[in-house]
């Protein structure tokens, strides 16, 4: 089993989600993160004082899939989340030792 973490631009979520559903991914988890990287942040002005906010709001997608499906998922995310401009994000792949579905106690592939 593989866990695929993708950090993407927020407005890309829908596209990625659709894509994943199409190729048969049945679930995923999303959380909001602050990203720091090459893409620079923005300036804010309060009472005549300038502040540079150097993080960029991003979404972190977590998808767990069977090993054989992982490459396809990675590819799809990379394609769907891509805009070509700095800040598109990253995809990280780790291997999972075990997956359990809480409702049924099923383990491994069945649990996904």
């Amino acid at each position: 089993m593989k866990k695929i973490e993708a950090i993407i631009k927020p407005f890309k979520l829908d596209d990625v989600k659709e894509g994943l559903t199409e190729i048969g991914v049945r679930g995923m988890s999303v959380s909001e993160i602050k990203g720091f990287g090459r893409q620079k942040g923005h300036t804010e002005i309060y009472r005549g004082a300038e502040y540079t906010v150097d993080f960029v709001p991003k979404l972190k997608l977590e998808v767990v899939v069977g090993a054989e499906m992982a490459p396809q998922v990675v590819e799809l995310i990379q394609e769907k989340a891509k805009t070509g401009s700095i800040g598109d994000g990253k995809i990280f792949v780790t291997s999972l030792e075990e997956v359990i579905r809480i409702r049924t106690g099923e383990r491994g592939k069945e649990a996904i």
Binding site: F11, D14, E44
Partner: protein, 407 residues
């Protein structure tokens, strides 16, 4: 002669009407996405500043100054020249002239602010400021003169508009339609979900609008008397009844009564009763409001079919609601309520309905055409709309370098 009771009434009512515009800012601000809330609030807030200056310099003079052929006031009162602390012979002669002037100023402020709901979340701030400047000067002031100015031709024609159904609501609603069509849809409209980011903010705004509207309508009696009390009552009753009917209509249509629906209904009722407030009785107000809730709900739902992106439903609520109200005045007006008014169709005077219809028609055409001209002009010169990238990142950061919340 100045009457202390009347002066107190108009001054406090002016404060109430002033408070409506920030109320509108919250009403609108809560409905946009959080990345645009400050820009939306700002579009109402800064109008208070800009229009006040315009009004003091030339706006009031164009609207209420010495009549020029029934179509506009002269610039004789530029900079409030001759607008003093004793009553004016032409307007509200029991209060200082400046009290009347500032009461009217608050109407001149909120009217263009209402339009901002139509192009929310995508207009360039610089273009917005120029739009307000031009619209206030070339649309609002003349229109106000036609209806309320001494010698104004619509007023002379006998059109009844107690507190601004045509001048305020139809004009802003129709201009909103023109704006929505010209500036076109928001990026992702119909595809992405545009969910209000803060509904309690919108309800708070609604409450302030309702509260201030008492000053708006009752204050339009320009004195503290039976008429003012009557207008106060019809205002409250129409709003209450519209809040209920909109909610019920939605309940039947979608199976759920929503808070935003009740709030939208309340505003629709206030809009509809505005021209009628001082000419109809409480039960008529109950009906006018009740129908307003249903009609405006229908208009808002119809939007998606008609396919223009009037972001916050200015057309459906102020345009349609104002039109219904102006016509309803032609139906329900009764001299038994207000001897200085007229009877409507239901009281045997079909002519009044016709006059009301004409005044609506004229207002629609004038406001629509002028708004198109102004916006086209701005579009060709400095451009109306922020670019895609800016729209995605939101107006708060790109137009104002601010973020609303750091919770």
């Amino acid at each position: 002669m100045i009457n202390a009771g009347d002066t107190t009434f108009i001054l406090i009512c002016s404060a109430l009407v002033m408070f409506m515009t920030p109320g509108l800012a919250l009403f609108y601000g809560g409905m946009v996405r959080h990345k645009n809330v400050l820009a939306t609030i700002m579009q109402s807030f800064i109008v208070i500043g800009l229009v006040t200056v315009i009004w003091v310099l030339w706006g009031y003079s164009l609207a209420f100054g010495p009549d020029v052929g029934g179509v506009v006031g002269s610039l004789a009162w530029f900079g409030l020249k001759g607008v003093g602390l004793s009553p004016s012979p032409d307007y509200a002669n029991t209060i200082p002239h400046q009290a009347f002037m500032i009461f009217q100023a608050m109407f001149a402020i909120i009217t263009p602010a209402l339009i901002t709901g139509a192009f929310a979340e995508r207009m360039k701030f610089s273009a917005f400021l120029l739009f307000i400047l031009l619209w206030s000067t070339f649309v609002y002031s003349p229109l106000a003169h036609w209806v309320w100015g001494a010698g104004g031709w619509l007023g002379n024609m006998g059109a009844l508009d107690f507190a601004g159904g045509t001048v305020v609501h139809i004009s802003s609603g129709v201009s909103a339609l023109a704006a929505a069509l010209l500036i076109s849809k928001r990026k992702g409209y119909g595809k992405e979900q545009f969910i209000p980011h803060n509904l309690p903010m919108t309800i708070t705004g609604t409450a302030i609008l309702w509260f201030g509207w008492f000053g708006f309508n009752a204050g339009s009696a320009l004195a503290s008397n039976g008429l003012a009390a009557g207008a106060f009552v019809t205002t409250h009753v129409a709003s209450a009844s519209a809040a209920l009917t909109w909610m019920l209509a939605e309940w039947m249509h979608h199976g759920k009564p929503t808070t935003l629906g009740a709030a939208s209904g309340a505003v629709a009722g206030l809009v509809a009763v505005t021209p009628a407030a001082g000419f109809v009785g409480p039960l008529s107000a109950l009906i006018i409001g009740g129908l307003a809730g249903i009609i405006c709900y229908g208009a808002v739902v119809a939007k998606s079919t008609l396919g223009y992106d009037d972001s916050l439903d200015v057309v459906g609520i102020h345009g349609v609601g104002g039109t219904w109200g102006a016509l309803a005045t032609g139906l329900f007006a009764s001299t038994a309520v207000n001897p200085d008014g007229a009877n409507g169709l239901l009281f045997g005077n079909a002519a009044q309905l016709w006059v009301q219809f004409l005044s609506v028609l004229v207002t629609c055409i004038f406001a629509f055409v002028m708004t198109v001209v102004i916006l086209k002009l701005l579009d060709l010169t400095i451009g109306l709309r922020v670019d895609h990238e800016e729209e995605v990142r939101g107006l708060d950061i790109t137009q104002h370098s601010e973020t609303a919340y750091s919770l």
